[in-house]
Symmetry: C2
Subunit: 283 residues, 2 copies
């Protein structure tokens, strides 16, 4: 019987290993400065913060610890978004890993959790968009410098997430009861074959469904939309089964162009955790 923190760590590892996962590091592809080994080291480092959440620590401090130790490798940010989904889900699993409980964990976060979240940005560079003008004081890129403003305004971590939608589909999970994460878990359970194949299929289905917000932030909306359209065509044609070369070629093309649908990978990792923790998939 694997522990809850162990399932969360395994979700990070199964996510990165699944292939093909167009645009992302996977078992067969590295990016220029971001390699498979960096993700493994990130998953190893994250374990401590995941254990904290499993032991009942508040979401913010557990997340900050997970990010700090995840970042102790030379690739930079590997799993920030995935951890932002996993930590509240691990916390929810202490009671019941269901959408209502996960939503109540998210809504129950405090100003202190928000302060820890801002401090997490001290440990790693994360791609985020510009905040609205009236939110400049709360720009996450200010890191710990923003904490006084967070405290003065009484902003909770849930508030931070709520204000990050639209434009950030990790934040969207927080305010919508982690619906895509739970849907991903159900799809993983319903899919066929070894876990790597299931994960690749679910990743493609998620990418086909909504433009990736990391791609939109780093490139633009049109690029994100084009990637999703191509994923949808492949998904509708069941290309992983019928024309795997087409998916590989899509994956190679995105890697060549530096287009990295990282938010979709984050949701995939969250779905893997839910499916593992519920015993709906096994390895």
């Amino acid at each position: 019987m694997r522990s809850t923190a162990g399932n969360a760590q395994l979700a990070l590892l199964l996510e990165v290993a699944a292939t093909p996962k167009p645009g992302n590091v996977d078992r067969h592809r590295d990016l220029a400065d971001l390699r498979f080994a960096h993700f493994m080291a990130g998953a190893v480092g994250a374990r401590e913060g995941l254990e904290m959440a499993a032991d009942g620590a508040a979401v913010g401090p557990a997340f900050e610890r997970a990010v700090e130790k995840m970042a102790a490798q030379e690739g930079g940010n590997t799993q920030f978004g995935a951890l932002l989904l996993l930590v509240p889900l691990v916390r929810a699993a202490r009671e019941d890993l269901s959408r209502p409980v996960a939503e109540s964990v998210a809504r129950g976060t405090t100003v202190d959790d928000a302060a820890s979240f801002y401090r997490a940005f001290e440990h790693v560079d994360v791609a985020v968009g510009d905040p609205p003008d009236d939110m400049a004081a709360l720009d996450v890129r200010r890191g710990a410098d923003a904490v006084p403003a967070v405290e003065a305004r009484g902003v909770t971590l849930f508030d931070v997430m709520d204000r990050s939608v639209p434009g950030d589909d990790v934040a969207r999970e927080w305010v919508r009861g982690f619906d895509r994460s739970f849907a991903a878990a159900e799809r993983l359970a319903a899919a066929d074959g070894p876990i790597s194949n299931r994960t690749a299929a679910v990743f493609l289905s998620l990418l086909a469904e909504r433009p990736d917000t990391l791609v939109a932030t780093r490139h633009d909306e049109a690029t994100a939309r084009a990637v999703t359209d191509r994923a949808a065509t492949l998904h509708d044609a069941d290309a992983l089964e019928t024309d795997p070369e087409a998916v590989d070629s899509f994956a190679d093309d995105l890697v060549d162009r530096g287009i990295n649908p990282g938010t979709t990978a984050d949701v995939t990792a969250a779905g893997l955790f839910i499916a593992l923790e519920r015993g709906a998939v096994d390895v």
Copy 2:
């Protein structure tokens, strides 16, 4: 700063990911019933026992826990031998990760440690050779049933290892101060490139140096010798640099023939841990 248990876990992951690693599961190859995901799940499970060793638990109980949780996946034995090297090395790192300290940890093991070692065989099938006739009562394949004989004869875990040489190069590490593990760490530090390339090079150098005892156990001495001879030819020609296709072809051939130099992989993992823990390599 990664924890000692984290470095040991990362060593397991870096070992399995490094490619090409002829005959073993690697980033590009699965065996028929033993896949990459099983090794990731094994490494996740092992963490708890590795933490126990890092926190000062005795070698036997920490090893038994690591094996029990490592085995909680559907691939069977993934990292038994590697953990048998890592646990005493993690224990040594509490004081100093040097050959003399590692040797004294090994020599300091007790009858209770031996009993835990035997119980570890209850959790997983491990390929081992037949013991001599006068040792039948101590056949590790008897698992917990052998514990009364272990206790009656006052056999320590070091004694068990000492009696397993020759024929088991993991046990040989225990009685020779982990010399190949420390040598592997030095070679990893001296090699060039990303950690996956360094690991593949060191794996090949180890395989070229001594016939793999797991291959000798599962097949025969002649097969193990032939594998080492071919590895030596490739190693002497610096084939990973000059003719990588030849190493890949060797790797594919061994996988096709079901020849799995697992002991060499175990020593490689131990070398990775030593190099990571000493800061001689990084990721």
